[in-house]
């Protein structure tokens, strides 16, 4: 008995101990109800448990742990806004090129660099070597409250301020400390904060990127479908060392490298369709894989762009800018849907939704007409950029493209395009003063370029290959969209498209022979009929 009770109490004590032990270990290693995708909760980091007064202060804190991040960032196009095209030798990037939207960043830095991943790029003297000028938050914000309004050279508003100065409009300061403590991976929202609003507003520039892509449904984008596959931008634009893959300065028009395999060294572009789907993705119809040797995936799988309910700009005529009303004020006109189609400071626009792209052979080469290149107005339309490609170079596929058409200022004496000073609350900014020669003079001076003092307008085109807004497969183009006389590929040379093409001579002779056979038969038959009637009569 004694032994038994002793054994019992010992057992009880052990059980209690074991229980206590298990409770304490459980408390320390308690599994989270949700599987976290990160190992770090930044709000727990001492470096971030303080009040931040500015962006650079936050960056400094980031760099205390992420010691090599600045070096990575400083190499990228996102930071430098500069890209040397190794094939053409052209120096490109927003820092250098001009477009036919807001034209150029020169002398307009404070406005344009609200989309720079840095702080304080307010003029041509910005120091690209300063680590603290990197803006970590604009890509890594998860709160959605981080904003960089135009005019502040990429700085956010920390304390309430009047913006633009003198406008009487107060912009509320954001809680940058909260933003810093909640950093995480990039998202459709962070990328979209700039890329959805390129060209100065929602949907303006790309046509296949706008705010509807922040949380698209399956119809709009089968991959980014917020309640389905839920891709972020970085799922395709696979990023390592802060270097985001996939750029329209050196796109991959035809990906011959096939599917990317984990662990296999592969330096090809990971953002192509082929890098996941391979070069023979149509399992049931080999014929479609055959099509893919001539036709980019995007051509059939993106039947139209600007499908998310936000209209994209299709043309921009700067030559009509400058109107003033009876009181001398600037004018804004809207269409019946409430979309702006004229602004005194910008000129005339046309917009489009559900736009069918235009199609071109494209081999990945993109060349630009730079501000230093001579142009002739008599040549007609100046191509700001143009796509290389031909049916026979073995590197081209038929691509869908948004062609953005416009008319913009140029210097008729020096025969160059020009970079006008548009944004800016000063004496020469076009948007305030509506005077072209002053605006161009300031802009060209800032860019270190000659200007004759004369301004004329020239028609321009810009080519934007379409690659986003991929529709579900059931909404891919039907055959007849191209296999018909006036189909989508009516203007494409170098391929025989059944239903579109026919040899005229063969067709004429062929129908002629068939018709002769018919007429011969009818004639013979008539004669026979008459002869037999006659014979019967006899």
């Amino acid at each position: 008995m004694g032994l038994n009770s002793l054994r019992q109490s010992a057992g009880c004590a052990l059980a209690v101990l074991l229980y206590l032990f298990s409770v304490t270990t459980l408390a320390a290693d308690e599994p989270k109800p949700l599987k976290l995708t990160t190992t770090a909760d930044h709000s727990k980091f001492k470096e971030l448990q303080r009040e931040f007064q500015s962006g650079p202060e936050v960056t400094k804190a980031c760099l205390t742990c992420h010691t090599e991040a600045a070096g990575q960032i400083h190499r990228t196009k996102h930071w430098k806004w500069e890209h040397l095209n190794p094939d053409s030798g052209q120096t490109l990037g927003k820092k250098h090129i001009l477009n036919n939207f807001c034209i150029s960043i020169a002398s307009n830095y404070s406005a344009c660099t609200s989309c720079h991943i840095g702080y304080g790029w307010k003029d041509a003297n910005f120091d690209f070597s300063v680590k603290e000028n990197i803006d970590c938050l604009v890509c890594h914000d998860t709160t959605g409250i981080y904003k960089k309004p135009p005019g502040l050279a990429g700085n956010p508003v920390i304390k309430d301020m009047e913006l633009p100065p003198g406008s009487g409009k107060i912009v509320k300061g954001i809680d940058i400390t909260k933003v810093a403590q909640k950093v995480g991976k990039s998202s459709r929202d962070t990328c979209g904060a700039c890329h959805f609003f390129g060209g100065g507003g929602d949907a303006v520039k790309h046509g296949d990127l706008d705010s509807s892509m922040a949380a698209p449904d399956r119809e709009l984008d089968v991959h980014m479908d917020a309640t389905g596959l839920d891709f972020t931008c970085a799922t395709c634009h696979k990023t390592s060392s802060h270097d985001v893959a996939g750029s329209r300065y050196n796109p991959t028009a035809m990906d011959k490298d096939g599917v990317h395999i984990r662990g296999k060294v592969d330096n090809s572009n990971p953002a192509t369709c082929v890098s996941c789907h391979g070069n023979g993705p149509h399992k049931k119809e080999e014929r479609l894989n055959q099509h893919a040797t001539k036709v980019a995936c995007q051509t059939c799988h993106i039947p139209a762009f600007a499908r998310g309910g936000v209209a994209t700009k299709m043309s921009w005529d700067w030559s009509t800018a400058g109107e003033r009303d009876a009181e001398g004020k600037q004018v804004v006109r809207k269409d019946d849907k409430g979309r702006v189609i004229y602004e005194s400071r910008k000129g005339t626009f046309t917009l489009g939704e559900n736009v069918k792209p235009e199609y071109f052979w494209f081999n990945g080469d993109v060349n630009y007409t730079l501000v230093t290149d001579k142009i002739e107005k008599s040549e007609g339309v100046i191509r700001i950029n143009w796509l290389g490609g031909s049916p026979t170079d073995g590197k081209s596929l038929i691509w869908p493209v948004k062609v953005f058409r416009g008319s913009q200022p140029f210097d008729p004496i020096n025969k160059t395009l020009v970079k006008p000073h548009t944004a800016g609350n000063d004496d020469t900014g076009y948007w305030k003063n509506l005077v072209w020669d002053k605006a161009v003079e300031t802009g060209m001076k800032d860019a270190g370029l000659p200007f004759s003092g004369k301004v004329d307008f020239v028609k321009t085109e810009m080519f934007w290959p379409i690659t986003h807004m991929v529709a579900p497969k059931e909404n891919a183009l039907a055959c007849v969209e191209c296999h018909s006389k006036n189909g989508r590929l009516a203007g494409i040379q170098g391929v025989y498209i059944p239903g579109r093409d026919a040899n005229k001579l063969i067709d004429t002779i062929g129908w002629g022979i068939a018709l002769l056979a018919l007429l011969g038969s009818l004639g013979h038959g008539l004669m026979l009929f008459v002869a037999r009637r006659k014979h019967q009569g006899e």
């Binding site: 025989y496 239903g499 063969i506 062929g510 022979i513 038969s521 013979h524 026979l528 002869a531």
Partner: protein, 197 residues
Amino acid sequence: MGERVYIFKGFERFWHWSQAGLIMFMMLTGFEIHGAYSLFGFERAVSFHNIAAWSLVGLWIFAIFWHLTTGEWRHYIPSVEKVLVIARFYSSGIFRNEPHPFKPSQLNKHNPLQRLTYLGVLLFISPLIWITGWLYLFHGEWSACGLSGLQLEWVAIGHTIGAFLMLAFFVSHIYLVTTGHTPTSQIKAMITGWDET
């Protein structure tokens, strides 16, 4: 009426009519694919055309086997002799109510002009359509077969030429069928197998 001769055997009639149906359907779908009109819609027209093509392949496998094993292929051996006689009949004699200079029999079911025409279809139109059709079907395999230098346009043109010739043959064939001693006598023969002369 005259004597009755059993000319067209069961399989032969089956072959003839299913082939006729398939070829008419393929002309219908084929010229739609060619862009001549819109009926089924391009995608369905292509799909139907392919199904009909494969059906015809199957039919031909049986037909070739039948012709070889029964010796019926001999009916397509051309005989130059009497071709002119037949031609003269169709261009003048027929209008004078002259009797047809050819009497079909089990051993000799086609007149010399028929023999020449059918042989022409067999040796020229059919191979043109078949070869270009196969190339069309297997466009995806060209480079694997060492045919990467081939242009789809040339294949398409060849196929189209074949189709036009087939259409011309079809029109003439339909007409000549009605020129027997009554307009329906020959069609009856191809249905029942019995030719009345």
